[in-house]
């Protein structure tokens, strides 16, 4: 996946805005890498869950053209 290529859905925009600059950077890097840190959601093959730090869960999907679209960021 192309690096530095995330888009944020409207619904997740406010959540993304509340991340620190470092968290936003970490999230961009995280989603630009394929690997075991992403868990594919059951029954929804284009959607993945990734952990950001100790207590944040990120729902995202592959949006085409090498982009990852962030759908939700929640504190867990």
């Amino acid at each position: 996946m192309d690096s530095h290529s995330i888009v944020v859905s409207y619904q997740a925009q406010e959540q993304f805005n509340r991340l620190s600059a470092k968290q936003q950077s970490d999230l961009t890097r995280l989603l630009s890498e394929d690997g075991p840190s992403h868990t594919r959601m059951e029954g929804q093959p284009d959607r993945y869950i990734s952990r950001l730090g100790a207590n944040l869960r990120v729902l995202w999907r592959k949006a085409g053209a090498g982009k990852a679209e962030v759908l939700s960021i929640v504190t867990k």
């Binding site: 619904q11 406010e14 959607r47 869950i49």
Partner: protein
Amino acid sequence: MDFGKIAFSAIQAQTELTSFSAWMAAHEYFGERVVLNEIAARPQMACLLGFTIMMPASDLIKFEFGIKGLFRADLAIGNDKSRQFVLVEFEGGEHDSLFKGGTRKYRHWSARLERGFGQVVDWGWAKHSHPGDAVFTSSFGGKVFDDCYIVVCGRNPPVGSLEEQRFDFRRTRVQLNGVPVRFYTYDNMLDAMTDNLAALLAR
């Protein structure tokens, strides 16, 4: 404090969201009072809107939340420890709830949407004018550290329409004295709740 306590359960929220989704599927258009009753009957689902600002799970909830005895929010949810709150105004989900009147080329924003936003402006004024006022803070049980206002109104405009582009701009660019104001259609609200819940339920 005017809030009631709630112990958030993602599993219960999922059950309520599933039934609300079915209700939405069976009702293309609906009035404010009808949909508000449906949402009030599903308090766990309503708490999913709290994740809009990444606050920990809501433990405070109040429908018909009064602000300084003058104003009212249809729904207020919050987390007591983090002192974060989300205030929500629900309008109808009619075909003309977002835009009404005007010409074919330029439709007017509806009075319903403007009324909803007008209430949000009043909430902002109530907080801004005397943020430490005892009447204000007592409603919230203390200070408000972080908040967000949401207006839910109408159904999605036609894809690719001028109305969709105008609504997209409005819903992404409005702040009120530093407090974000989010505009959701009921379709947007359902999507946001569904995505927030999926992230919450993931292991």
